[in-house]
């Protein structure tokens, strides 16, 4: 590890003052990934900008429309321990309580997990299922994109030089909807998803008919895979439909063989996890909250 400078600004304007100066700059929204990568020589930088002192980036709140606005560096433990969040967005809690591991979730953040752009990240399938968007800021303004457009490839995201991720926005969930995120790891902790699935279903007001389904898969392609499940809308949320969703998911999966899992294993997991997550999502959709 080479020596580098470290700054911990208090405002976004201060952050912008450190950018666009030719320095190799990295942001730290927790350190779960970036510190390890620096220590192992997988990344290098001249300047590390710690975002943890910026109030706007470390807080979260529901706005007047019910959208949950989460600062990119807000600690996961605070989010998933929030009673309101647990009641309104259990699908988010599924993912947030897995990222990084219990011992570091008082520092680890959604923003860090997203920007690291691992195909196996736990945040992205859940956020895509929830229809979340990301707010990206620079000295010249803000832009907002759906989460699924943020990933360009393993370790590559849509941030341009001078930009940083500032907010994750999760819209109020429709009535009779439910979201579930599941991942598979060989152990029960301290591991990276071999495959994962985030599923949101919305049921008709007075029947088990599916009004809409969103499915996103992790670790079965270079970026999160969004499964086209438009054909499921209008069908009854029964086991045949759920099996069909699993089949569609396995078709979309384009996994690789690596030390963490094989193609056969990941394709099977895409199906099994989609089925189990969809069952969980339907169950939640039927709960009265």
């Amino acid at each position: 590890m080479e020596a580098f400078d470290y700054v911990a600004p208090r405002t976004l304007d201060e952050v912008y003052g450190h950018l666009n100066n030719g320095k190799r700059t990295l942001f730290m929204a927790g350190g779960t990934d970036v510190i390890v990568q620096l220590r192992e020589g997988r990344r290098e930088c001249d300047l590390l900008i710690d975002l943890k002192r910026i109030e706007q980036l470390t807080s979260y709140a529901f706005d007047s429309e019910g959208t949950l606005v989460i600062g990119a560096a807000a600690p996961l433990a605070r989010i998933y321990e929030d009673v309101d969040v647990r009641r309104r967005l259990p699908g988010l809690v599924d993912a947030a309580s897995l990222i990084g591991g219990i011992q570091i979730q008082s520092r680890a953040s959604l923003g860090g997990n997203l920007c690291n752009a691992s195909p196996a990240a736990d945040s992205s399938p859940a956020l895509i299922a929830l229809g979340a968007t990301l707010v990206i800021a620079s000295v010249s303004g803000r832009r907002e994109i759906p989460v699924e457009e943020f990933f360009l490839g393993p370790g590559r995201n849509a941030l341009e030089p001078g930009e940083l991720l500032v907010e994750v926005r999760i819209p109020a969930q429709p009535p009779r909807s439910g979201t579930r995120y599941l991942r598979f790891i060989p152990r029960n902790e301290m591991d990276i998803a071999v495959a994962s699935a985030g599923v949101r279903v919305q049921l008709a007001p007075d029947s088990d008919t599916l009004e809409s389904v969103r499915i996103a898969l992790g670790a079965v392609g270079p970026t999160v895979k969004v499964v086209d499940v438009t054909s499921l809308a209008g069908r009854t949320a029964d086991s045949a439909t759920i099996e069909e969703a699993g089949r569609l998911a396995a078709e979309v999966a384009t996994p690789i063989d690596d030390m963490r899992g094989s193609i056969i294993q990941r394709r099977k997991l895409a199906r099994v996890l989609t089925i189990r997550a969809m069952e969980g999502a339907i169950e939640r959709a039927k709960e009265i909250r």
Partner: protein, 754 residues
């Protein structure tokens, strides 16, 4: 606790707090990386990126000019080492190979093989400078699999190595097979032919690491008077001293090794890696030098245990194990010396059978040189043998524990070496397991299953030396030289308290450095509580003799007229005269000076031990994941000195066995590069992956020990691999013969992913 014939003890069998406990839980205990002698600087090792290559040249000139650099060493700085074999207690080592393993001279034989080292003012400067050492390699084809390495056309790690055969001959052709051996009794072919049922299988296990939490670290100071002081993490300070002396060609008298607290070893901290390098860097830089490994260096550059391929053909006759033919092929790593012999000698220990034929191959591959790992060689062999025994019993519709009991070894049963067993507790363990509520409870539900397996370990004796000094206040200093890994300060203090009939709290155990006590062999082979315990017992007797003569002097009688009972010296000539241990201790100065006792010995009769494990699992057919539902480990421990630490040893061994069975493996690519050299991807079990492990202690006292102790620490890692594989077979109906039983393997073998 099942206890067979045990005297009434006062201290033995109780559960006091360990003497080192408070320092450890408050973070004050000093581990290997903690010492900071005045002026210390930092070293970094440069390691090979190739698994197999000839070193053409090493250019250190640019690195020497890097800011902060104070010295660089390569193998050229070592004295020329000779082919001489040194016994380290748990495994022998060839000194030239040891030297080459510490810093490669002509060839690198595995990725991570150390080549050079830099000392600099800061760790970062040392790291940057190490990257500036230019090494020119002639890259060679690596061979990382034992079967590939055994082929006649395999790339050779050492062109001059020939297979060492039985009786000392060598093969004509050079070979990666370093040694071939065989064990024979009866007529295995005939025995198999007359068997009622024969099962034949081939089993594969992967290279696995001990996974001790504390990476290796060594700090060395080459002092102005030519002496060397080494602070290090080791299972045996005296063995470090001996190895450093040989590698550097320096008399042991000039080396002082200070053993720090140890964060786990499991056999992996017997060989040396950093100590002589730190010493040479200190000589060059004129400063104390600290060398510490990171986790990747630990995985790639220290000694794991062998991957294996084991074939077993076994026959049963009249409901008993009757004949076994087996071939064991063990990866030694880069240099010879796998524990294949121990595998052969332990795999049939639970059985009394007539016909045996075992062939063993010790094979070098382009992976790290293996070192000891908890019951070295035994778990993989037991995985193979106990899987086949399970299959025989199930096919014959005999309860698998009953089948083992029908075939059980006992006192007098000949082992494969021809040596008969002394008193052993195999049958007691099996009987305890059979009647345990776990075994008698039903196991129900889809994809659930139960497995059992037995295991054996010899246990070691070897050399121990202790000094016992009695303080005037009646407390006692116990000076010993065994690294305390599993609570041996407590277990030795307890044995001394029992011997002296004084309270446990009155004993202060001290693990001394190599200048301060006689030679002690490594804490390995489950020997310390046994062998140092014998020394403690003898030293305690020595103290009682000495104190009896002091009392005799005070009472003007002969020592024979003094008796010692329950902490009180009595005058046999005058029943009004008596002195407590504490009262007499205060009379040292008046009766001839300080009171001390000592003992030095080579311990014999260590006493082998057996364990039988019962495990229930549930397999998720959707993900291939195996969950351990319930685990019971029954073990004969001779006498449990401190039952909590005995249970801790049993539970720890089981956890390591669970990891080995389910997820742990060194994963290599085709170039011999390890792909999972981190705790993230080398998947040891976490606290959330293991259930409560019920440790059931059986006590069949070891007749070779004054308190009946048998070694405890190694036996419990032997049965879990097979027990879990047998449970998974029961749960899925499919016999798995390759470890680990990872979700990936289960998915791929069970249904091809459908």
């Amino acid at each position: 606790m099942t206890t067979i014939e045990r005297p009434a003890y006062k201290v033995i069998g109780s559960r006091p707090v360990r003497p080192d406990g408070v320092e450890k839980v408050t973070g004050k205990a000093q581990y290997a990386a903690d010492p900071r002698p005045q002026g210390v600087v930092f070293g970094k090792i440069l390691r090979s990126p190739h698994a197999h290559a000839r070193i053409v040249s090493i250019d250190t000139s640019e690195a020497e000019r890097h800011p902060g650099v104070l010295g660089i060493v390569t193998a050229a700085d070592f004295p020329q080492a000779e082919d001489k074999v040194q016994d380290l207690g748990e495994g022998a080592v060839n000194l030239r190979e040891l030297s080459d393993n510490i810093l490669a001279s002509e060839k690198v034989l595995y990725r991570g093989h150390a080549i050079a080292a830099v000392a600099a003012a800061s760790p970062h400067e040392a790291e940057a400078a190490a990257q500036k050492i230019r090494v020119e390699y002639e890259v060679l084809t690596p061979v990382t699999n034992v079967l590939d390495a055994m082929r006649e056309d395999a790339p050779l790690l050492n062109e001059t190595r020939h297979t060492k055969m039985m009786g000392g001959q060598h093969s004509e052709r050079p070979s990666n097979i370093a040694a071939y051996n065989q064990f024979k009794a009866g007529d295995a072919d005939a025995g198999l032919a007359e068997s009622d049922l024969v099962v034949e299988r081939e089993f594969t296990t992967s290279m696995v690491h001990q996974g001790y939490i504390e990476p290796q670290s060594s700090t060395a100071s080459w002092n102005a008077d030519g002496t060397i002081t080494i602070w290090t993490s080791t299972q045996g300070a005296f063995v470090v001293r001996a190895q450093v002396a040989e590698v550097l060609r320096i008399p042991v008298a000039r080396i002082k090794v200070i053993p720090m607290e140890i964060g786990g070893g499991f056999g992996g901290k017997i060989p040396i890696y950093l100590d002589p390098v730190a010493a040479l860097l200190s000589k060059k830089s004129g400063r104390p030098v600290k060398l510490s490994m990171n986790r990747t260096e630990v995985f790639e550059g220290t000694g794991p245990t062998s991957g294996t391929v084991i074939s077993v053909k076994a026959g049963a006759k009249d409901g008993k194990l009757h004949a076994v033919q087996a071939t064991l092929r063990y990866e030694a790593g880069a240099y010879p010396g796998s524990p294949v012999g121990a595998g052969a000698m332990t795999m049939l220990a639970p059985y009394d059978l007539e016909h045996v034929e075992i062939h063993t191959f010790d094979v070098v591959v382009n992976k790290p040189k293996t070192s000891a790992y908890r019951a070295p060689g035994s778990p993989a062999a037991a995985f193979a043998m106990e899987s086949v025994v399970d299959e025989l019993a199930r096919t014959l519709k005999i309860d698998p524990l009953q089948f083992r009991l029908n075939s059980a070894s006992k006192e007098g049963t000949k082992q494969v070496t021809g040596v008969p067993f002394a008193r052993i507790g195999n049958e007691e363990v099996l009987n305890t397991a059979m009647t345990h509520p776990h075994y008698t409870a039903p196991i129900e539900g889809p994809y659930r299953g139960r497995g059992v397996a037995s295991g054996y370990w010899f246990n070691g004796g070897m050399q121990s030396s202790v000094v016992v000094a009695v303080n005037p206040d009646g407390t006692v200093n116990l000076v010993e030289g065994s690294t305390d890994i599993g609570g041996t300060r407590a277990s030795l203090a307890m044995q001394l308290a029992e011997t002296l009939s004084i309270p446990y709290d009155a004993i202060r155990p001290i693990v001394a450095d190599t200048d301060s006590i006689g030679h002690n062999d490594v804490t390995g082979g489950s020997r310390t509580t046994v062998a140092s315990g014998m020394a403690v017992y003898q030293a305690g007797q020595d103290v009682i003799r000495e104190m009896s003569s002091r009392a005799a002097r005070l009472w003007s009688v002969t020592p024979e007229d003094v008796s010692y009972e329950d902490g009180v010296f009595h005058c046999l000539k005058d029943s009004t005269k008596e002195l407590t241990f504490k009262e007499l201790a205060a009379q040292g100065a008046r009766t001839g000076g300080p009171i001390a006792g000592r003992a030095s010995l080579v311990a014999r009769g260590a006493g082998g031990a057996f364990g039988t494990h019962i495990v229930d699992v549930e397999v998720d057919p959707g993900t291939g994941k195996t969950t351990i539902l319930r685990y019971t480990a029954v073990q004969d421990v001779g006498t449990a000195i401190h039952p909590s630490y005995v249970e801790g040893q049993i539970q720890g061994g089981v956890v390591q066995g669970i990891g080995w069975a389910l997820n742990e493996e060194f994963v290599y690519d085709e170039n011999g590069r390890m792909l999972n050299s981190s705790f993230l991807d080398y998947r040891m079990p976490t606290a959330l992956d293991v259930p409560l492990i019920d440790a059931v202690i059986v006590e069949v006292p070891n007749p070779g020990h004054p308190y009946g102790v048998r070694g405890v620490g190694e036996v419990p890692i032997v049965p879990p691999l097979a027990a879990i594989a047998n449970a998974v077979a029961d749960a899925t109906g499919h016999r798995f013969t390759q470890l680990p039983l990872s979700p990936r393997r289960l998915i791929e073998e069970l249904d091809g992913g459908d």
